[in-house]
Symmetry: none
Subunit: 282 residues, 2 copies
């Protein structure tokens, strides 16, 4: 920090060191892949909505909500990347362009502020809670989901300027995250009781997917620090690795999670006598 | 590579040599044709989804997923081309613009990372396997499909900077490709057993289409090297020919393939007594 209290950005790659062609392009491609998957997922959830009984359809609707918001915010994130940097013919590297915005992951965070509560809420329409109260779980999911994202969002601004603020906000965010994991474990355990074995198996798979894919986010948050933020190859690898990790995590925790919930709902619908296209009995 | 470890781009056309008006425009038009076909295909697959029985509709849904992701990534690829180069009035050639990104085929590759697993998966919902296990074939398709694309994606970064890395990654990618061809041959052979002759004939056509269209990709990967990367007419012809080949291959392997699978599903649906618009029996 200088005497005016402005942050120093000397560790921000692209400002002094440049990105190599491969690193720059890999991030551009990965971010583009990310929003394309979300729009593809949007169509998937719309087109499969009638494959489940009406009472489960709100799960598909929430997947659609998640896809729309993720598509738009990841699209903005991708444009932020490609417009920030310009190719320098002499060095063959990409540098922050004159008059361009810095690249910042904040678009992602504000996307999660919509998506995280929706994703957590969504599963409550597919499973039946045997012991816990629906409204209590829902409110705890929303409280800790929003708390996790907002504190992480504040923390990421300090990444290159103030490591302690970055770490402390990250730690508070992690506490909310642990609370979410405990709740989700309980929801899935209760949901597995008394349902067809096939559906129970898919729900068990959703827990594994949820645990692994959500654990990728704190890993990505720390990645440039873990790989060394002081410049050079590992710094660049940290930036590229983070965008790839976020993209894998986004696809797994939003799209694959939604597809698996649809699958559970399809099995449950079938076991309850639902046939797609057959007239409902009044 | 220079002493700083940065890649040298002296063989990259547009940097020192320029593209002629004809070459530049042909690529721009071909890329635009490519994404336009994908959006048109998107509407085709949505509008024909009810012409097949519910159990086959997931094939159309997967075609829609492929169309959406291909549309967006080919759109980004086309914009990458038109924004990279600027016309030089004096020489009448197109050169890399000041402050613009280099042109890179990576958007295509990351599109294939979605599309290849989906296209391979799709056929498994139309055919009935008589000997092989659905999950085993699916997992092998996904493993080798992703392996083929990721290794090809890494390889293409070395095209102008390191021929050996380019060739070795390409060779590994080809091994995965051969595995896919063997699997697809088996799936189609088994799928042809015991189905109406008309459907079996279309499935046989799908094998021919699949084989020819997928073989175009390794050809396009090598094309600028086959035609001589050392500058001049053949170098330029290699770049233009590659984009045309990729576009023909994309249209054949995604759109025509999907249309033919829909045709098989329509014949099967009809032979099983499905009538579009009639209520299903509960």
């Amino acid at each position: 920090m200088n005497e005016l209290g402005n942050a120093t950005f000397e560790n921000y790659i692209g400002l002094n060191d440049g990105y190599t062609e491969m690193a720059y392009q890999m991030v551009a491609h990965t971010l583009t892949l990310g929003y394309a998957v979300m729009l593809a997922g949007l169509f998937y959830f719309i087109l499969t909505i009638k494959s489940v009984a009406p009472k489960y359809r709100i799960s598909s609707v929430l997947s659609v909500v998640v896809m729309v918001s993720a598509f738009l915010l990841l699209f903005a994130q991708a444009n932020n990347w490609t417009s920030s940097f310009v190719f320098d013919k002499e060095s063959g590297l990409y540098f922050l362009g004159e008059g361009e915005d810095m690249f910042n992951n904040g678009y992602r965070y504000l996307n999660w502020l919509i998506d995280v509560p929706m994703l957590l809420f969504q599963i409550l329409f597919v499973v039946t809670l045997t012991k816990s109260k629906f409204t209590s779980i829902r409110n705890q999911f929303w409280f800790s989901g929003a708390g996790m994202i907002i504190t992480g969002y504040i923390g990421q601004f300090y990444e290159v300027t103030d490591f302690y603020a970055f770490a402390i906000w990250g730690a508070i965010s992690t506490l909310f995250f642990i609370h979410i994991l405990i709740l989700m474990r309980r929801v899935i355990k209760e949901g597995q009781e008394g349902i067809p074995a096939e559906a129970s198996k898919v729900l068990g798979g959703i827990w594994v997917l949820f645990f692994i894919s959500w654990m990728l986010y704190p890993g990505a948050y720390l990645m440039p620090h873990l790989l060394g933020i002081e410049g050079g190859f590992f710094n660049e690898a940290g930036v590229v690795g983070r965008q790839m990790t976020y993209t894998v995590a986004d696809v797994a925790s939003k799209v694959i999670y939604g597809v698996m919930l649809t699958q559970v709902a399809q099995i449950m619908s079938k076991s309850e006598g639902y046939v797609e296209g057959a007239p409902a009995k009044a």
